[in-house]
């Protein structure tokens, strides 16, 4: 049920608003999606940064719960349905990907320019050869190409790798069987891995 919209502020600031936008989006409003994006993006970024700093205590949110946290924080639990959540996780995974890739690019640039991080001799070498940062960028690029062949697999990789969901959670979100998801995942990985290996054989 879509509520009649009275004049609302440009940036939603409460769980109710996010839910409202989600509901509108699932009714087909593209405008709602656009309004949703910056809001969710900021949250993603914040959470990702925390994750990257790494918490070393037990009971803390593992990376796979990252999007859960996002979901819990942003969405009014009472009003959403299962299908909204699937949509939400989809967006969140995409955004996480964006956030992490942007971060990787920024860090890489910093290192190259000798930014505020202490750059040891070994670290300088990293910049040229493979490092987690460059790996991520490569994956992102390859993933884009995979998406053109198989958009479903792209979603699965986003959910599993960038949002950190387990196979079961991914299956749950997409409404497919875990078996199917597993197989798709295996194929997607195989394809991506092959792409990256071939690339790295060439020049950097």
């Amino acid at each position: 049920m879509v509520a009649s919209e009275s004049s609302s502020s440009p940036t939603p600031a409460s769980a109710g608003d996010v839910t409202e936008l989600l509901l509108q989006w699932s009714s087909g409003s593209e405008a709602a999606l656009q309004r949703l994006m910056p809001f969710v993006y900021d949250e993603c970024r914040r959470i990702a940064e925390r994750q990257m700093r790494g918490e070393r205590e037990e009971h803390t949110l593992s990376p796979s719960a990252l999007v859960n946290e996002l979901y819990l924080r942003l969405v009014d639990q009472q009003r959403t349905t299962w299908s909204n959540r699937a949509h939400f996780f989809g967006i969140a995974a995409q955004l996480m990907r964006r956030v992490l890739v942007d971060h990787a690019r920024a860090r890489l640039a910093e290192k190259r320019l000798g930014g505020r991080l202490v750059v040891s001799l070994e670290a300088a070498d990293d910049v040229a050869t493979s490092s987690p940062l460059t790996d991520l960028l490569g994956i992102d690029e390859a993933l884009q190409r995979l998406g053109q062949i198989d958009p479903d697999q792209l979603r699965i990789v986003e959910l599993r790798f960038f949002a950190g969901l387990t196979v079961d959670e991914t299956a749950h979100v997409l409404g497919r069987s875990p078996r199917t998801v597993k197989r798709e995942w295996q194929l997607a990985k195989a394809w991506l891995f092959r792409e990256l290996s071939e690339r790295s054989m060439g020049s950097e």
């Binding site: 087909g28 593992s62 989809g90 995409q94 991506l192 290996s197």
Partner: protein, 871 residues
Amino acid sequence: MPASASPPPTPPPIPDKAGQRWARIKAVFVEALEVPENERSAFVARACEGDTTLAEEIESLLASEKAAASFLEAPAAGLLGQDAPASPRLEPGTRLGAYEVTAFLSAGGMGEVYRARHTVLGRDVAIKTVSARAAEPKANRRLVREAQHASVLNHPNICTIFEVGDAEGTPFIVMQLVEGRSLRERLHEGLPPLATALRIGSDVADALEHAHRHGIVHRDLKSSNVVLDGTGKAIVLDFGLARRIPQVSTDLSRDSTLTATGALAGTLSHMAPEVLVGGQADARSDVWALGVLLYELVTGELPFTGRTPFETSSAILGEPPRRMSSRVPLALRLVIERCLAKNPNERYQHAADVRSALDAIARRNAWPLVGRLLVSTRWRRLSAWGAAVVLVVAAALAVPRLRARLDSAAPIRISTLAFVPMETDASDSTSLYYAQGITEALIARLGAIADARVLAPASAARAAKTATSRAELAKRLDADAIVEGRLRRSPDRIAVDVRLVEPTRGRVIWSDTYERDTRQVLALQDDIVRALAAEVRLTMRPGAHVQPEPSRAVNPDAYDSYLRGRFEWNKRTKVSLERAVAHFTRAIELDPTYAPAHAALADCYSQFGTQMVGAGSPRDFRPRAAAEAIRALQIDPYSAEAHAALAYVRHYEWQWAEAERGFLRAIELNPSYPYAHLWYANLLMSRRRLDEALHHVRLAQALDPFSLIVNTNVGWVLTIAGRNAEAIAQLRQTLALDSTYVQAHMRLIDPLEALGRFDEARREAEIVVRLTNGSTSAMASLAAIDAAAGRTDDARRELGRLLERARTEYVPPGAVAIVYAKLGDTLDQDLWLMRAYEERSNALAYLLADTTRLWRVDATVRKLIAAVGLQ
């Protein structure tokens, strides 16, 4: 900016050649994985039917799959995390300000902890540093600020912060060195004895209270943050995540903490639900964490767990805590459950109260003879004869003083007894509450066992005020005899002089005095009830619940609060309801096993969620009401008030059959309890069983003839039944009792409108607006009557203003729906009815009753009627 996400599922596009090829690759690939490895190549070759390029492609993918076993299995964020440089450990001998590091102690989330020594004073301390990984100028500044705030805390159970220093841009915090093991570690080895657990809980609660008083919330209280030192004293660490309680009052708002720093700080296992969904942490979320801690202390486990963080957070948000062993004393279980209430408003609001509760339990356990916690009630099926025998015998045994017969005339058959308000010799408020409370209790008890009609005290009080003689009073109330009483109180004792008076000639039939220790006040009531029942030869009801001997003591302070609560509740205004809630809550805090307080609290909450009072959404209040009613029933399954309270909630949750059963049970247990009949009448109205509804509401009226709500509801039922003129007369009579009674004015609007007397109806609406200072319910009524009278523009304008208010205040959706109905805007009517449905508003229960008069009945309304289960 991120690219737009894929829209909701659309049918898949027809695959082109490349797409078809990929589909084939996938199909063969997937099947090939099922085949044993040594047969794979052959299988692939067969499946590709000679297409060698296809087969090569698939083979290479299969090979890649093998090599990629761990590829991408670790989430991306973790990958990037590895990139950050590890923070160098400080070596012993490193100087940090005036301190010298002597040893590394542990690594925490944000940094490390070292043991250090002041180079001049020689004092051993602990120093916490912020790791380079977490280092970020803003975060550092925040940490320093928080440490400074926390450093004002000076309490034996709190790890003191001495100072905050700076070493080349990295801050460090110097704190009290606490040597010992964390509670968590100790619990791994086994559970402490109950007394110890209570003491630790009490100490931690005390620490929290101290911090809260200084405006600091811990935010990350957990068993690994509490250390037991050498003497076993509990010390709370790590107020490092603490922050100042914000000046703005924090209600259960769901605002994301976008602008706040430090997102979801805190540990999941001990996180309160409102914090989990991004709300502000405040004293009450600390109370939650305390509840988790207490749970751990008595069970050794966590109350909310799951295989994944998602499951855990779902449990925190929606599941009750895992059952505690019955070895844990009931009182303690109730304390813990209260700390773990999902809604922060239902928890202890102050850590100090948790402490009092724990201390009280500790004392009680130490003195088993004083105040047994369990209510022992035995149900006996007695024949009327047998009961009388038991009663007389018991009365003879229990009555401590000789009875004085002042008139030895033949015994009278009394079928209606009226209690006039008890007098007291003192004028202090406590005595007044006691007097009223005991009177009410006597009435309730007597009503439960005797086959007599016992009139409610408020009505009797009103009549007593204006009656010039006893005879007149009795005539007004239609009573055969009057009970008068006098209360005398001293700090430790209570005495009640009771007189039974025959009104026509004013002769005293019987009198006696009962005296007991204050703790035995319930038993005192028992004594009086038994004696009265025996004395007036009231017929025992078959199967009535009899307690031949006193079964429990009650905490006098709890009883005191309970009485105050009843005093306020009888006033039935929003403000007095709020006060009543506070009193009942206090009573429960002091004695969680006193059932009547729970039932009374349930009633308060139920009233808050009504459309009339409009204090908030029923969604907020009804669960609380249900919880309290259920708790009351757990303690005393024979409480008519508790059954009625629960049935009331069930009615508005559309559980028709259960609600009806509950009301009937309440009536069975105490036919003189007016609210059981009143609310049952409401239920019957919902089901459009109007004759029965009228019967019960009239019964309620007979029991409580001067009650404003009862009289108003009689008018309401008459309106629904279409007897508008009678309804108006009844409601005007009600207003003659009290012209400021809002609900009566509100109920007048409908019958007046039905008779076309729009101006009078509007006047009533205006009065309500004035009396309530423009409450949203009132404004809605005004708009509705304007719409009905044809003043469409006015109505729309008022509606517009109401909708504006809806953005910040609670507006009962049912009320808005009515306005649209009158305006003929069926679509909007439906929308708001849907909202009312989502909210489970009370209004929906009367959909069927109101169809002919109020709503435009379209498909949606019919669907709603079906959804609610009305027909």
